[in-house]
Amino acid sequence: MTADVLLSIEGISKSYHGVKANDDVSFSIGAGEVHALLGENGAGKSTLVKMIYGLVKPDEGRMRLRGADYAPAEPREARSRGVAMVFQHFSLFDALTVAENVALGMDNPPPMRQLAGRIREVSEGYGLPLDPTRLVGDLSAGERQRVEIVRCLLQDPKLLIMDEPTSVLTPQEVNILFGTLRQLAAEGTSILYISHKLEEIKALCDEATILRRGKVVGTCTPREKSAREMAEMMVGATLNPPERAAAAPGPVALTVRGLSVASPSAFGTSLREVGFEVRQGEVLGIGGVAGNGQDELLLALSGEIRTAPETVRIHGRGIGHLGPNERRKDGVCTAPEERLGHAAAPDMSLTENALLSGAVRRHLTKRGFIDWARTRAFAEGVVRTFDVRTPGIGTAARALSGGNLQKFVLGREIMQEPEVIVVNQPTWGVDAAAAAFIRQALLDRASAGAAVVVISQDIDEIMEIADRFAALNEGRLSAPVPTKGLTIDQIGLMLGGAHGMHEAEVSHAHP
């Protein structure tokens, strides 16, 4: 850490339709500093980094970069001033190679052969080995992120902005990424790090600025604070870890045997002989890095992909051949990962979205005719019980923030009182308070006797709520093991370690 200030932000404000997304925000990032930006969803973190990256223009206030006025009109200008950003959602083309993807994101790409050489050089220099000739569609999520990072590093940035970078990584990959980031910081590059994972921020960041409702509510040195303290600053309230009433698991509710499913999408992963059992009152956590068959597993359990009857059984009865609504009738509710477009229709109101999956179990139709009064009451109930912040149930789903929509989707499924509930990435991109709420709701459902399957890339989440853990790797599921006593390292190895890192580890171990 040095005293030189790289970027200072002075009194920035930004409103959308009269709502202040940022309100008089000021802080500064020193050269070579790893600075965390903390806050709940909707606290204004995204708006703030978009302004730094030139995607959005502030209404008031100013920024200074290395002492000079800094007001980028567009990302191109931000990049030319030495500001680079790795987005949460990758902007890569599956059908192109690594080098082609990198070239597409550069303002003045060098010739391809030269670029490939630079990619090798930079990626190995920072411990993120990449083969420039491979197709991006064949890469793991962690490798894809490396492509994004290397693309930024090739521009020799002074400030690197990273938005939720670890949500797609295995623990080993997180360690590798942190190694790279520390190396960059040591070389004088500043890093603005956005994350919800407070333990990571403690491990990595020098300083933290905490936003709540668009305002800076505090700064701290993460190493000196506990994760709980930081979370409470973020939320502005006391947080309780999820709790559950201890109960002996009941009889087996959900049985999956020999489930093999070809992926419906070209770059998906087929399931191979997946098998597990979940008892009533039990939470099974299925971990794995994105793209290892999670989506396919959810589709096969929800009924969107049908299989032989005996591959999926509820209370011993085969339901593999049934569609989603028939399975709902039998007590199976699911919540897919993709909230907009899969779990919910973006342009439809919350009322209509409540009908989407709730029609069967909540008896929202009579002889095919929709009972809108009942449907509205159900939607209202979900909004109230799950504290969904929305102007009303007539609001379109896409107008809700990610966390609020997730609470709505989870609430909609849980309030149908399913006997088996399967959720994929229940708290992805959701702030700490909402995540704690969702986890508690899932545990409560288990306590009420449901079999709960949580598919998640967030190992901490699985450790927090699951009774047993199984790893999904390249479409195969490991045998479930009790979570009690598992270490992060063991889990990481079950997840397949760090994808494509063996060579690098060897070469780093023996320099």
Partner: protein, 363 residues
């Protein structure tokens, strides 16, 4: 340069405002076109939109024509709109309309000269069936072999036209017609005729069916789970599958409904205003109904209004041809402009236009 900014929620104002804006833009661009053709644009527009309804000289003939033309347009467009909402594109309503007419007229003519109450109802069923099976061809090819329903349904129009010609010349030709192509005139066969129900209004059974279809479609879309599934499948196909909607079932259903309604429109036309099966029986209602469906925002009430408006341009267009000597191609271009402008200004309901010079903002 202009910047398009996506609205957080679609604008209600523009959802209803765009059809009106499109009509105004069409009048302006159409007026320009008429001016270039050497006609007085104001007179041409007045002849198209005003004279058919309110000119003392023409209104007596034109007013009933409004319902006669609007009936089939609305009936077909209602069917099409259900599919369009679900993302199922039946472009071949014209062919289904022809087949409905052939099947319906065929059943009627088979009973000739017997007089019985059940003949007309049987013809109605046969007409719907004819349109239905013609629509089932693209539907089943799509669900079985993933063919494109747009192409198959469109190309089947030309097949239907050839069947129509062959029927007029062969199987259904009037044996007492002196060898001229075309069937017997159903208007002169009381048990099979689709008469005007109230004299001087143009109201016939086809118009009644169109009104019933408007109400039924409205209820389906607002109150029935099937209507909800149709909308869901169009807006978010993956969410529809999650909600248990079978895409194939929806294809068969939507194609079936639109085919049956187009077939009905054909039957009511052949048994009523047209009177007989002839080589040039079809006059493009099946294609114009596509414009009507979109002009009406795929909304049943909107389609009712759009159908009446489009019928007006038909009648007024004929009047303008007759009075001002405008070429019929100009009238068709005028109708085409309506769809063009509608689709163009449709952008406004989902996007805001910003001028970056005035306001630098993006989301």
């Amino acid at each position: 340069m202009l910047i398009l900014e996506r609205r957080p929620t679609p604008s209600r104002f523009w959802a209803w405002g765009t059809p009106f804006l499109a009509v105004i833009l069409t009048m302006i661009a159409g007026g320009l076109m008429f001016a270039i053709l050497g006609k007085d644009p104001f007179e041409a527009i007045r002849t198209i939109f005003w004279d058919p309804l309110f000119n003392a000289q023409f209104a007596a003939y034109s007013r009933p024509q409004l319902l006669v033309k609007a009936g089939p347009l609305i009936l077909i467009a209602i069917g099409l709109s259900l599919g369009f909402r679900a993302g199922i594109w039946n472009i071949g309503a014209e062919g289904q309309y022809i087949m409905g007419a052939i099947f319906g007229a065929g059943v009627g003519l088979a009973f000739y000269p017997m007089e019985a109450w059940f003949i007309f109802p049987l013809m109605v069923i046969a007409g719907a069936f004819g349109g239905l099976i013609w629509a089932m061809i693209p539907a089943i090819l799509k669900t079985r072999f993933r063919t494109n329903e747009i192409l198959v349904s469109l190309l089947l129009v030309y097949v239907a036209e050839n069947i129509l010609a062959s029927m007029s010349l062969g199987l259904l030709r009037n044996p007492e017609g002196g060898g001229f192509p075309g069937s017997r005139n159903l208007g002169q066969y009381p048990s099979a005729a689709n008469h005007e129900l109230i004299a001087g209004t143009g109201m016939h059974w086809g118009v009644v069916a169109a009104f019933i279809a408007v109400i039924a479609a409205y209820i389906l879309l607002q109150r029935h789970i099937l209507g909800f599934q149709i909308k869901l499948a169009g807006q978010a196909p993956r969410a529809a599958r999650f909600a248990g909607v079978s895409p194939d079932r929806l294809v068969v259903l939507c194609m079936g409904i639109s085919g049956a309604l187009a077939g009905l429109a054909g039957l009511f036309e052949v048994a009523g205003p047209a009177g007989q099966i002839s080589i040039d029986f079809n006059s493009g209602y099946g294609f114009t109904a596509i414009i009507v469906a979109f002009l009406g925002r795929l909304n049943p009430v909107g389609i009712l209004l759009a159908g009446l408006l489009m019928a007006l341009t038909y009648i007024g267009g004929e009047l303008a041809q007759f009075m001002l000597g405008l070429p019929s191609a100009a009238i068709q271009a005028f109708q085409g402009m309506l769809l063009f402008f509608l689709l163009a200004v449709d952008l406004l309901s989902n996007y805001r236009i910003r001028v970056p010079m005035l306001m630098k903002e993006a989301r």
